[in-house]
Symmetry: C2
Subunit: 303 residues, 2 copies
């Protein structure tokens, strides 16, 4: 299990409830525990588990919207009577321009905004730096019934920190352990953890950054610091390899999603969310009141 | 100005940039400062400013999505270089089943979720009750560049509290003043405040509650307490009349949106958001770096 392979044996949780949600659906590439490969072995333009083209992908995204929407509403509803229940956490990591924003808009954005809690983690503030790296993360774990989404995450503390040497090897190893414990706590509390690395090529990033520079309405998305980081591309890929190997666990596995084709990344993340929700299989909660009695009460107000 | 009238002289901010965004667009009914009327005078099935039917309304909602999306992105972008700038706060009030959730999904949900901050205010916790009623509200004022949305709000403290006598007249008056000062602070800090009452009839609420009781997948949305409140319908309408009269100011006016037709309420709130954003007229920020220099740097990484 040392190389990145297709999704046929990735243990996807498709229930076969819908013909579009079959086992050979787009799911990116699952990283097994103990993996010793490199993300650079995976073609960022590939579309594992999906034979179609861009139009097919866009059609699929639209076609499965409703299913995702329905499952999300059930998840939300299931927790209402007791305030307890399952939740989902989607962690999205990737280099600049890898399409995190597009995932937020076009995948996450298709479900009821009241059931989603997006947290964007930028460079930590001075106050946040005074605490352990998980201090600012923990309060954003999703409440029962919610889909939490991390746009960047606690993984920055083992990626950029490794690349720039802000933490030594011993500290990085400590953080891997802390992350695994934290994510295990989450899963034990009923949260399904999905971790996605949006995998783009350096060439693709260059083109996307160039577009930001060429279009005045995109200038605001560009930061000269992005180029400072780009120079460290190989070091980032190695930091991802190490982090994925150390933190892809049975309870919280990593999936590498090729993302040079934005449409593929979106249907893959959509599928991962569908898988997680179908495995939870949330049910409409039973009424905690006497329905007939309430109907009578309501009728009395309508005469 | 003592009665509710149409929108022809409501001072809407349509710029005429798009034929669909004209001055006779659906905007509900603006409440003037010093108003002494009653919301019960307004037909909850009416569609002020709009001649079309349901299909026309749905077409309009879809057609103006992109415009709203574009303006929201500009608002967000404009604040990025400095962390300062304008914002919008949409306060949505209404009786149970008035369609607040549908506004969140179908109007607010159509823009980038990263640019929207929805706060749902339920019954206050014990901790929150220890503080002044605005204590739990203030932290949710939108940051620069954001569209903040309140699903219920500080107005509950002058509505349900008046209806149940949890606050006496003197305290209610104090709260009106505190609200007006708070909202003035917001507008002076650059936030455009939109306040919407979704106005349904008691008959329509009865039908919507009955649907929740008749469908097992809707039971979770029903609470027997909803019927306890329904009995106080006339008192709620009076509490709205008083609150709207006391807090519809030049800087933060109220709009009553007839909401028995859900499609109308959605296009009206969409229009109010468009008006607010068009009045702000946010511009793409200028680059705070030398574009040519960055292009050169980027090219050097792509050879």
């Amino acid at each position: 299990m040392n190389e990145i392979h297709g999704t046929d044996d990735s243990g996807g949780a498709g229930t076969g409830a819908d013909v579009l949600v079959s086992t050979d659906a787009p799911r990116g590439v699952r990283i097994p525990p103990g993996w010793t490969g490199s993300v650079t072995e995976l073609d960022a333009r590939s579309t594992p588990g999906f034979q179609g083209d861009k139009q097919d992908g866009e059609d699929r995204l639209a076609a499965l919207d409703e299913r995702l929407d329905d499952l999300q509403e059930r998840l939300y509803a299931a927790s209402r009577p007791t305030g307890e229940g399952r939740s989902v956490l989607l962690v999205v990591q990737g280099m600049d321009t890898s399409g995190k924003g597009g995932i937020m808009r076009h995948v996450v954005g298709s479900v009821d905004p009241q059931g989603v809690d997006i947290s964007a983690f930028k460079a930590p503030t001075d106050e946040e730096k005074k605490h352990d790296f998980l201090w600012r993360i923990r309060p954003h774990a999703p409440a029962p019934g919610m889909i939490g989404v991390f746009d960047r995450s606690h993984y920055e503390d083992v990626l950029i920190h490794r690349v720039h040497g802000w933490a030594d090897e011993q500290e990085i190893q400590r953080r891997y352990r802390a992350i695994n414990e934290f994510e295990q706590e989450l899963t034990e509390a009923g949260t399904t953890v999905i971790k996605v690395m949006l995998h783009i090529s350096a060439q693709e990033q260059g083109e996307r950054l160039m577009e930001r520079l060429e279009r005045p309405d995109k200038h605001w998305k560009f930061n000269p610091g992005d180029l400072d980081e780009r120079v460290h591309w190989p070091a980032y890929m190695e930091a991802y390899d190490r982090a994925l190997a150390a933190t892809s666990t049975e309870h919280a596995p990593w999936t590498v999603v090729p993302a040079d084709r934005k449409w593929y990344a979106r249907i893959a993340v959509q599928q991962l969310l569908l898988d997680a929700l179908e495995a939870i299989d949330p049910q409409w909660p039973a009424a905690d009141f006497d329905v007939d009695e309430q109907v009578e009460r309501l009728r009395a107000t309508m005469e």
